[in-house]
Symmetry: C2
Subunit: 503 residues, 2 copies
């Protein structure tokens, strides 16, 4: 087939796959509403769509199209004469096709149905603090993931096969090395902070009316540039961002946490993801596979950059604190902006990852990375997981886990079969710090923040990162944006400036 015709056909299939993935998004969004006995069929529905998508990706036709377009292991993007957009689409599908064709449809459907049903099992096990209820299905999932890794294949480590799904081009050895350095940095900074004075943050745990919290969160999203014509916010047990369409991007939060800033920072975090999804879908990319993040770590770089580097900064609160205090004058009586900023940046090891401060967060990830590798290698059995978890929490963070709800059962990822996902969260912090370092050279971030008009930051991120979606491999994009490969020293420098030198 001629290259042009092959490309046109690939784009037709791509368009259909994007629609199907958005439909899957609708099923996911609605999942919490499903009445008890409907849960089982919802998993079958998702399994069917997953199977249909798999069959489109793994088809012989797809293999032929990609071959006609010149894609190969050494040249994933196909013919170099093609433009970046076309090469981006080809690369995405070559990687998917290479992987997916190694799985048969039955396996894909079983994987989807098993994880679909596991969700409710995990929810119940967590609420009842009963790991043994979750153990059988998690054992099944780990078995399926092992099969998947073997099917995908790898050079050095089975974990490579999983990691490459979420963070294209990054190996386990690289992560191990980066995390080794990062761990030393974090423990070092933690030690230095430990010697500082105690910060009183009890006022964050006062009672704050939810409607006012929602009003404030909306104002912050406005300032970030969240487009209400293309998205909305909702409530859910777990905060997340999801695309139900190119112009239908939704974020959730929960108001069940005791601290007033927990839902707020979760909104800013998800808002960062939403801005990426909104920016990645534009005239050039809309409706194609390119209209999403370059990788999960890149996605997380945006959410954590907005949540922590912007949302927990002094400049941000110089603008927003008077508004916040006007909403909650009683709760914040006598609290100064300096005190408030110190409180929301309080560093203290704790058991829950999503509530962890910036310094200890990485240690939560290292713990999961290490446990996942052992599960995958078969050197740790699922039944021994809670014990291993608690032991590592004590070694790494000095935390004695009270029970499994705030321990091994806290995260949804394993119930979803997503082993290999967690490292991208910590990589996101590293990417974010490196990107912020470049951004600060070109934009006067401090002034922008205290002005309350964040558009110069958003526009910079948009033109340097977001607009490309997944057109370039993550490593290439980072090089393009920051002029350097990933380096842990930017994150170390950021934390040191913020926590050791300034506070």
């Amino acid at each position: 087939m001629k290259q042009n015709a092959a490309l046109r056909r690939l784009e037709v299939i791509d368009k259909e796959l994007v629609l199907l993935s958005h439909i899957l998004g609708v099923l996911t969004w609605d999942q919490e509403a499903v009445p008890p006995r409907g849960v089982e069929e919802r998993a079958l529905q998702m399994g069917l769509l997953d199977r249909n998508m798999h069959e489109l990706v793994a088809s012989d036709e797809m293999g032929e199209l990609l071959s006609d377009l010149g894609a190969s292991d050494g040249n994933e993007g196909g013919a170099t004469s093609l433009d970046d957009r076309s090469r981006g689409i080809i690369r995405n599908y070559f990687r998917l096709w290479r992987r997916e064709r190694k799985l048969d449809s039955g396996f894909v459907q079983e994987f989807s149905e098993t994880t679909g049903k596991a969700h409710q099992v995990w929810v119940r096990a967590r609420s009842e603090n009963n790991f043994s209820h979750f153990e059988p299905v998690l054992t099944h999932i780990v078995d399926l993931v092992q099969q998947k890794a073997e099917a995908f294949g790898y050079n050095d480590d089975p974990y490579d096969a999983l990691l490459d799904v979420f963070e294209p081009g990054t190996t386990t050895a690289e992560v191990e090395k980066l995390f080794g350095v990062m761990k030393g940095d974090l423990l070092d900074i933690l030690k230095q902070i430990g010697e500082k004075e105690h910060i009183d943050d009890t006022f964050l745990y006062n009672s704050y009316a939810q409607d006012k919290q929602e009003f404030f969160a909306r104002e912050v999203l406005d300032a970030m540039g969240f487009d209400w014509e293309r998205g909305l916010t909702g409530l859910a047990t777990h905060p997340y961002t999801i695309s139900l369409g190119s112009d239908d991007i939704r974020i959730t939060t929960r108001y069940t946490e005791p601290s007033v800033t927990s839902p707020l920072f979760s909104t800013i975090h998800e808002g960062g993801h939403a801005l990426y999804e909104m920016g990645a879908s534009n005239e050039r990319t809309k409706g194609t596979c390119l209209a999403s993040g370059a990788s999960l770590a890149f996605h997380e770089s945006q959410s954590r950059l907005w949540e922590n580097m912007i949302g927990r900064s002094r400049g941000f609160w110089q603008h927003f604190f008077p508004k916040f205090k006007a909403l909650f004058p009683t709760q914040l009586d006598h609290v100064t902006v300096q005190h408030f900023v110190a409180a929301i940046n309080k560093v203290q090891p704790s058991s829950i990852r999503v509530n962890a401060d910036e310094v200890t967060y990485g240690l939560h990830i290292i713990l999961r990375f290490e446990l996942e590798r052992e599960l995958l290698a078969g050197t740790l059995a699922v039944r021994d997981l809670p014990g291993a978890w608690n032991e590592k929490m004590e070694t790494l963070l000095g935390i004695r886990v009270e029970d499994d709800r705030v321990g091994v059962l806290q995260d949804v990822h394993w119930a979803m079969g997503e082993l290999g996902y967690f490292p991208t969260y910590a990589l996101g912090n590293l990417y974010g710090a490196q990107i912020m370092d470049t951004l600060q050279q070109e934009v006067d971030v401090g002034t922008v923040l205290s002005s309350g008009d964040f558009s110069p930051i958003r526009l910079w991120l948009d033109s340097h990162i977001l607009q490309y979606g997944s057109m370039y491999p993550p490593k290439e994009l980072l090089q393009k944006v920051t002029g350097a490969p990933l380096d842990t020293r930017f994150f170390k420098q950021y934390l040191t400036n913020k926590y050791v030198e300034s506070m």
Copy 2:
């Protein structure tokens, strides 16, 4: 292919089609939440699923399977040696296949996308009272429907082709004859009622707290036997029932109407539909195409039987009025149960179909039936529709339509491309009265109602109608249940008893 193998294969395809139709249900349920710019893609998503379903139904494979199973025009259910369940599945698919294979995929997708987008256009036109905004898309839809009718084919009247989709086996000539008799009956009864004394129902328009209304509606649904493990209720602009899964059946209502009983009766109405969906999905039928109503008129017979014959009956309120009054003592001060029952059964011609009383309701349907036939025949242009509507409203109901919002723009059906649907509503009244007549011979309905435990009614309906789903053609099922073909005299008798003789 051997019959057994063909049947097994048909059941696999059936299972997939049912899952896809439920997925389409999820997309529909979520439709009101979609942010403004996301509306267009949602229509594309629905178009894709419609096309995929069409391709499964209209495939050569389907034709071969049905032929192997002995299905033909003269014998839609296939080999008579097969059991009723198998023959029901075969009949459903033979009818679908015969129709759908006459449409190409492109047409199906265009139809779905056009009507998907038309929804928002209609919403806006209605809210702005601007028919001309809706006119172009409705013209396009009527054109597509005309093409569809021609493609499906018919013997006497193009309207037959549409009607047969919604009410299998019923012809336009039959409807015309039934409606002719019904029209005479209704006008006659209306005249007799007109001579009676005026009923004061103004207390229904007092202010009633929504949370208490919801509480009461939930109690009524409990009494009806609504299974909360398999369903839920929600709010929407338009009340409807939808299956998002065999065990995920949802109904909506709205609390924007001025009368307190409008949302209540709409809940009971949709509750009747939901009971049908719940009952039709059982051990024998779950996950198959049989797990739904025998026809739309059969479905409507259940909703209107519960809403009007039960919900607006004296017996029902003998049980429920004390509870209702306890919730709203001020609003119902001095109102007796007799007065209340008279008020909720007040007959008065009005412009809105869904709020119409039992007597004038049928006239609203006749109006639509007549206009649809003219639209389809091309003897009425879409631009002349509002004028024709208003003229008929005056002739039939003596109502001068104030504006198009409460006139030609009031219903969603035409925006959905569903010409041929309306007659099933009035047929539902006829079916319902005939079924109730039989039910009353076997169950002491009056005693059951005032006991507040409706299970004898529900169980009778379940064992005589619901459990079969769409296993039998509607005419055959009616004969099986009531021992007679459809006859207007039952509905006439019911209305006469209730409105002329008793009140």
